[in-house]
Each structure stands twice: as C-alpha cells, then as structure tokens.
C-alpha cells in the first residue's frame, strides 16, 4: 500500500502528489468497508476538558473531534485543502468584513435537537471569540453573526479580516457546540465540557479517569451509513513503553501521535500484522526551534547567531535524533505548507570553520581553555527529541568554543523559566505550525507580547521591519498579497535569525493492519474517523 511508508520524505510532498498516492487505495477500501467492531487506541494524555470549542489543542481534538465537528475539515484533495463538515460552503466578501457560511441541513445533536445557525452564532460569539485560546486571535474583530435562516450564518467583522486566515482556521478553531446546553450557563464550568454533546459520528459514552474514554456509534449521523465502527475506546497508557507492547499483545489496535517512540519503530515495523504510517499529520507539523534570549549581549550580535546556525548539522539532527522521520528546516514556515512556504531565503549550511570565523569576527576569541563564552541552555522536556537535541546542541556549540550549560526542568518549570522569568540564554522549543502564520510561527518573533505568555517571543527580540510585515499581513485581504507578505516574513526571519529553525516533523501512527482508512487526511488523528473500519 502506497500510503504506508517508513520514509518521512514521502510525507513532504505537495498536495497534488499526495492526491495521486492516496485516492486509489481510499476508493478501493471504501467499497469493501464492513461495519461493526470496537477500535481501541492508546491515549497518553488525559484531558479533562473535552470541549474543543474552548480548548483547541491536539490532545482534546484526538478524542473530541469524533463527537463535536468543525465547520470544515482538512483534506488532501478538496479545494483549498478543506472538505465540508457542518458547513457546506463558505464565501468571503471582497472587503473582508463578512464571511457567509451555508450550513448542512438535516443534522441533529446527539440529544435529538436540530442543529441550526443559532448554534454556530452562539459558539462563535460566546465561545470561540472570548474563551478559546486561538479564537481570541482570529475572531478578535468578530462583531456579530447574522442568521437570516436556520442554515445560513454570516460572520460580520468590525475591521477587515483576511478570508484566507478564516479558511485556514476552519478545521482547528470552529468546533460547534449546542447552544441549548450552554446558553445562560457558566460556559467554563458546564458539565457538557467533560461529557460533550455534538453532531459527530460518535457519541460520548463515558470517561473512567485513569483508565479509558468510550465513544459509541451515532446511528443518526448525517453522513448516511457512517460511521462504520460501533465503539472507539481510548485507553490511557501513561508509560512511554506501554503502547508498543499493547499493540504487539493486540490489546490496542492503534497508537497515534508517536505514542510508540521513534526508537521502537524499526523493531515494531517488522512484527507481522503491524504497520507504521507517517502520513496523516501534514496539517499538524511541529517545528524544532532554537529560541534565543536577545538580552544576552553576545546573542544580540547577528554574527553570533549566524555562527550558531552554521554550527548545527541539520542533516545529522534529522538522521540521528529523528531517525529520518523529519526534515531540515529552512525558515519559520514548514515545507509541507505549499500555500505560504518559500525556499528563497538565506541558508546556513553546516560549517564549523565558518562558525568559528564568525565568532572571531564578532570579537569573542577563544580563551586559553578553548572557550569563548558560556550559555545557559534549556531544552523543552515535552518530547524525547527536544531533550536529545539539547544534548546535541551542547556538543555542537562546544565544537565552536561556546560552553553551554544544560538546565533540565519539568514542563511547568520550563514554561516559567523561559516565558515568564526569561532565565535562559538559549532554549529548545517545539512550536506547532497551524496552517497559517497568523496563528502560529509569527508570535515567536513579533515584539510587544507581555511577559508570561507561553510559546511567544520572550527573548526580547524586536525588529520594527518584521513587526510591520506581520501586522500588515494580519489585515491584508488580497490572498496573493498576503501570501507575498508571509514570504517576506520568512526571508526576514531567516536573515536576522531571531530564532533558528532546525527541523520540522509530523507524528507517526502505528496500527494493526486490520484498521482501515488510516491517515487519509492531513489532520487524520484529530479528524472524525467516520470512515474508519475494522477488518473482522
């Protein structure tokens, strides 16, 4: 099967190439889909708030996306990479002040009430805009949602808002929740946050804390004959080694989000009946980034930052730390975003001699002990790979005479140290790219973010030219002009190096070969799985 591969390379193709590789097997499998069965998947985290309209994060989507649906979902082959869900069409006005959604008819909530435009208006105005971590950015100028009839919702903005951004934000940001359960209540404390009611192919059945979540088939799903599965069970497996064992013992059938560590993939791919899939995370790319504290006078010098960029062997990082399941980065937008990515940026090939020369030029000669200066290096602890890259970076910097002292913290302590206390010189972070620079990547270099905002520019970097490009792009309606601004943005970042982009990676799914239609869209793990089925 062409969509099952061990090579990360094939993942980073353009949309059209992916279409060619996936359309065939998807069609063939869809014809023989057999209904029924219980799919058991591994869950490594256990979110308590399962309302994706409030918490737009992958950990929540992984479970809640089967219950609560967005207006549109990411797609390999549909126009603009979107396939309709609760909305059937969307259109932006030329002035950027309104967006009209036509909504699907004949959809009911799991409790039997009809789904209407009032639910969309309520979710947008009362949840996405004021409460959602990302919606607060995208919908900040949303003034009103008009509902001329039950199946039309017109979003009105007070200032021009790029339709391109709204479109790119549809899959992660527009989960619709039922107005009749939330209206007039304390939304953050509503019981439906932990036992969600939606329109999706599966109904939330129960959560046994520390053990599992159980979802049941929604027999009244709007997409007739779907879903195929009777049940999905998310089994909580906190130990990193547990998922691989559970797959081998056939206690679970699927582990997404690299729950099986990269180091185990080679071995487990040889177990009969188990397949390793690197597709299906194209819209969930993570970036390996060296964050820089520009308050340090050495690091405020561009030559020093260039030297650090030249000191890092990106190919080695990809091969050794990511075992090939990643790609070297050129700049702040990952290469599998064909919409915005440009490779027309300055590059920093691995060159120790050049790095040493740059540091000499910058006025930091090697002392008698071979050291130029010392830095405090804080690798983020969230992934094995970020910790391992911290170890590598220390050695790479030592080779050019920079003495890096590793400081290892747990997650909460790391966030406090880097984003509130600024108690770092360089940090290693894994920011997530969300399909549009306005809701990812730009916040890491833009100035003016108050202290204490995690995953933002807390390195004291300020570049008025870059800030101007970012704010211009945020209000540019014309799509090609907006895209061009983000290409300029990439060039500026790669030239001035407010941070250093090292690599970009998606996750790996490991599944029993009896699970069908795995990874057939770019956000597969966090999509609704209505066409997933099990071979008996």
């Amino acid at each position: 099967m062409s969509d099952i591969t061990l090579s990360r390379r094939s993942l980073l193709l353009t949309t059209s190439a992916l279409l060619a590789s996936t359309a065939m097997p998807t069609l063939l499998l869809a014809e023989e889909a057999k209904p029924g069965g219980r799919l058991i998947v591994a869950a490594d985290s256990e979110p308590k708030n399962l309302n994706p309209a409030i918490v737009a994060s992958n950990g929540v989507f992984f479970i809640a996306s089967k219950v609560i649906e967005p207006l549109a979902e990411a797609s390999f082959d549909d126009e603009n990479g979107l396939s309709p869900r609760l909305a059937t069409s969307w259109e932006g006005s030329p002035d950027g002040l309104s967006v009209t959604f036509k909504l699907r008819e004949g959809v009911t909530w799991h409790d039997g009430k009809p789904f209407t435009s009032a639910d969309v208006a309520f979710s947008a105005l009362n949840i996405w805009k004021p409460l959602q971590n990302l919606g607060r950015v995208v919908f900040k100028d949303l003034e009103d949602v008009e509902t001329p009839d039950d199946h039309t919702a017109i979003f009105k903005f007070s200032t021009p808002t790029p339709f391109q951004l709204i479109r790119n934000a549809l899959p992660p940001l527009t989960s619709v929740v039922p107005k009749h359960l939330y209206e007039g209540t304390d939304i953050a404390a509503n019981p439906a946050n932990s036992a969600p009611v939606g329109t999706g192919p599966y109904k939330f059945a129960e959560h046994k804390a520390g053990e599992y979540y159980r979802l049941e088939k929604n027999a009244n799903y709007w997409d007739k004959d779907k879903p195929y599965l009777d049940e999905i069970i998310y089994r909580v497996l906190p130990d990193r080694a547990a998922a691989a064992g559970a797959l081998e013992a056939e206690e679970i059938q699927l582990a997404a989000f690299s729950a099986v560590p990269l180091a185990d993939l080679d071995r487990i791919s040889k177990v009969p009946g188990i397949v390793v899939v690197s597709k299906g995370y194209e819209a969930l790319t993570y970036q390996l980034v060296v964050e820089i504290n520009h308050r340090r006078k050495e690091l405020a010098d561009l030559k020093v930052r260039q030297a650090i960029a030249h000191a890092i062997d990106k190919e080695f990082v990809v091969k050794t730390i990511f075992l090939g399941y990643a790609k070297p980065s050129t700049g702040p937008v990952p290469q599998n975003d064909p919409q915005f990515y440009t490779d027309d940026v300055p590059t920093y090939p691995f060159d120790v001699a050049k790095a040493n020369a740059l540091l000499d030029e910058a006025g930091y000669p090697k002392a008698a002990d071979g050291k130029r200066f010392s830095l405090k290096l804080l690798p983020a602890p969230y992934f094995n790979e970020t910790r391992q890259f911290g170890d590598y970076l220390r050695q790479a910097l030592a080779a050019v005479g920079i003495d890096a002292e590793l400081v290892n913290n747990d997650a909460a302590a790391h966030i406090k140290a880097v984003y509130t206390d600024h108690a770092f010189d360089i940090a290693v972070g894994p920011p997530v790219y969300r399909g549009d620079p306005a809701i990812s990547t730009t916040i890491l270099v833009q100035s003016g973010t108050p202290d204490g905002v995690p995953f933002s520019n807390q390195g004291g970097y300020s570049n008025p030219e870059l800030d101007a490009v970012i704010s211009k792009a945020a209000e540019t309606i014309d799509e090609s002009a907006r895209t061009e601004l983000y290409r300029t943005f990439q060039k500026l970042v790669a030239t001035d190096l407010p941070l250093i982009n090292v690599a970009e990676w998606g996750f790996i799914t490991v599944a029993r070969d009896s699970v069908k239609n795995v990874s057939n869209n770019p956000r597969w793990a966090v999509s609704n799985w209505s066409d997933t089925w099990l071979e008996p």
Binding site: I40, N49, A56, N133, R214, R235, N409, A412, V432
Partner: protein
C-alpha cells in the same frame, strides 16, 4: 487488651502534629518548584494570550501569596473539606476515593506476598545458617533487591504478556467488559498478578534477609541450647523458638515498608497503567495541582499511620513486654 488500647490512643495523639508537618512540608516543596498550575494548563492548551493567563491565575486563586493559600487550605481542611482540583475540575475527595482502593489492593497484595514469601524463605534459610541453601537464597535475594522495579516490571510484561500472552498487559480490569461479581474479581486478580509480583518480589529480599539474620542471632542464645538439651525436635525448635523470636523485627519492618510501598507504587502504577494514588500523585506534581497533592499526601499519611497502628497492636499481641511499662 488494655495495653493495646493505650498504645492506640498514644499513637493517635502523636499522629496529629505529624500530619500537620507533612502537609506544610509538601506545600512548601511544591511551592519551591518553579511554575504553577496555570503554566502546566497552558502547556496542555498549546498556548494562550496574556489576558487569559491572568484571568486563569485570578480565578484559580494563584494570584494570592503562598501563605494566604496555605491558610485558606488549612481552614478548609479544618472543616473537613479537601478542596477542588483545578486540573481534574472535580472535588479532590472524590478523585482520591476513586483511586485509593486500587492502590490499597496493590499495596496489600504486594506486602502480603513479600512478607509471607520473604519470611518463609527467611525461615528456610535461617534454619541452617551457613548452609548451601542459605547462601543461595541470600545471594539470590540480594540480586532481586538490586533490580530496579520498573525494569523487572517491563521484563515480566514482555515475557508473560507479549510473548506468552498469559496475562493482561496493563490496567486494573478489562476495559468496558461489563463483567460483574466473581467474574470481575477474577478479572481484576488476573490484572494484578504482574504489578503485585513486580512490587512484591523486590521487597521480598528485605524480609528474607531480616528473618534470616534474626534467626542466626537467636540460634546462639542459651534458651535454644536448653531446648536442644530438652530433646525438642529440630522442627519445633526452628518454628516455635527461633523463628518466633526472630519475627519481631520483621513485623517492625512491615510497618516501615508500607510507606516505601506507597512510593514504589508510583512507578509500578505508571508502567501497568493502574489508576491508583501513586500515579495520581505524579500527575498532581506535573500539573502543579497543590491541593490535590496535599490531599494525596494527607491520605497516604493516614494510611501509613493506620498500618503502623496495626503493626503496634500485632506487636503487643506477639510480645507481652510491649506496652506493659505504661501500665504502671
């Protein structure tokens, strides 16, 4: 029986300051760790803006000083209220009561295994100190004691769950199985075999060596020579005289080890995905959920105190000298 009652009363009175110290100590330790519950929560969101961070801090009361929060916690505790967990959005008492039985089951089964098997093997070894079987058991138990718990757990899993497929890999029971009554008990039993074995086998060595050392000591006592001179059978001397006298320090160990078992269960519960108190504690630390951690520490302290109380009573029953001094 009066002796035992006096003992219980005295223990309970001394327990109160112990619990107070434990709570304040745990609070200060977690306070010293950088980052708070909001930092941990924002991490799970993948980011948020400055207003949201500030609103969360205010609504979770984290904008107050540590002393104000400790006092508020202690005041609520005095009313019998363990508080509200922000990371679970549930009352802490409910969460703990849900997890406690699993941990108690795991702990008591492993303690029973290590105590009974350990002291039985200890008696076996101590019956003939210096013999071949004594040496073999001593070396073997030392090797077991040196094995890290999580490693032993993983090896048992690979062998019995993945290769042989005799036993379930993890969890406390088959998920959503709908089993009831005896079937369910059997199912839980099957799931407990590996975690209990991993936790119990490591501590087994302690009881074995303690029992054996105690017996080697007793063998040299005069009353043993007297018993031998009386012509008692060897078996009777080993069990009634040597082993019984060597048992007292082993029982003391049982009380002390119950606290260590709680610590060991953090690792074993994570490896075997058992929803217990140990795993809950590590989650509480990771999410900086101070009231939840304090609740767990409080309940654990109560469990350890209760176990030690039982040990004291057992002691009083085993040794007529214990507690007698206070009668006068």
């Amino acid at each position: 029986m009066n002796r035992a009652l006096r003992l219980v009363r005295r223990r309970l009175i001394t327990a109160i300051p112990v619990i107070g110290l434990v709570i304040i100590g745990a609070f200060l330790l977690l306070e010293a760790a950088p980052g708070d519950a909001v930092d941990a929560y924002i991490l799970s969101l993948g980011g948020a803006d400055a207003n949201m961070v500030a609103e969360l801090r205010a609504s979770w009361g984290l904008d107050q000083s540590p002393w104000a929060r400790l006092l508020a916690y202690l005041a609520a505790l005095a009313r019998g209220d363990l508080g509200w967990s922000v990371s679970f959005s549930r009352p802490i008492l409910d969460i703990i009561l849900e997890r406690l039985p699993n941990t108690l089951l795991l702990m008591s089964a492993s303690t029973a295994l290590s105590f009974m098997l350990g002291s039985a093997l200890g008696i076996f070894a101590g019956a003939r100190p210096g013999s071949l079987r004594d040496r073999l058991l001593s070396v073997g138990s030392l090797a077991l004691y040196a094995i890290p718990g999580f490693w032993l757990a993983l090896v048992l899993v690979i062998f019995f769950s993945i290769n042989l497929r005799w036993l379930p890999l993890s969890g406390i029971e088959t998920i959503a199985s709908g089993k009831h009554g005896f079937d369910r008990a059997l199912d839980i039993g099957r799931h407990l075999v590996l975690p209990v074995a991993s936790l119990g086998i490591i501590y087994l060595a302690l009881y074995l060596r303690m029992m054996r050392a105690g017996m080697a000591e007793v063998w040299r006592q005069d009353f043993i020579r007297a018993a031998q001179a009386k012509g008692l059978s060897r078996q009777r001397i080993v069990l009634r005289h040597v082993a019984r006298n060597a048992l007292l320090p082993v029982v003391t160990m049982l009380g002390l080890q119950s606290a260590a078992m709680l610590g060991g269960s953090v690792v074993i519960e994570s490896v075997f995905a058992v929803p217990g108190l140990g795993r809950l504690a590590s989650e509480a630390v990771a999410s900086r959920d101070t009231p939840l951690l304090l609740g767990i520490v409080l309940v654990s302290a109560l469990v350890v105190i209760a176990i030690n109380l039982m040990v004291d009573i057992a002691y009083a029953l085993l040794d007529p000298r214990v507690g007698a001094a206070e009668a006068s």
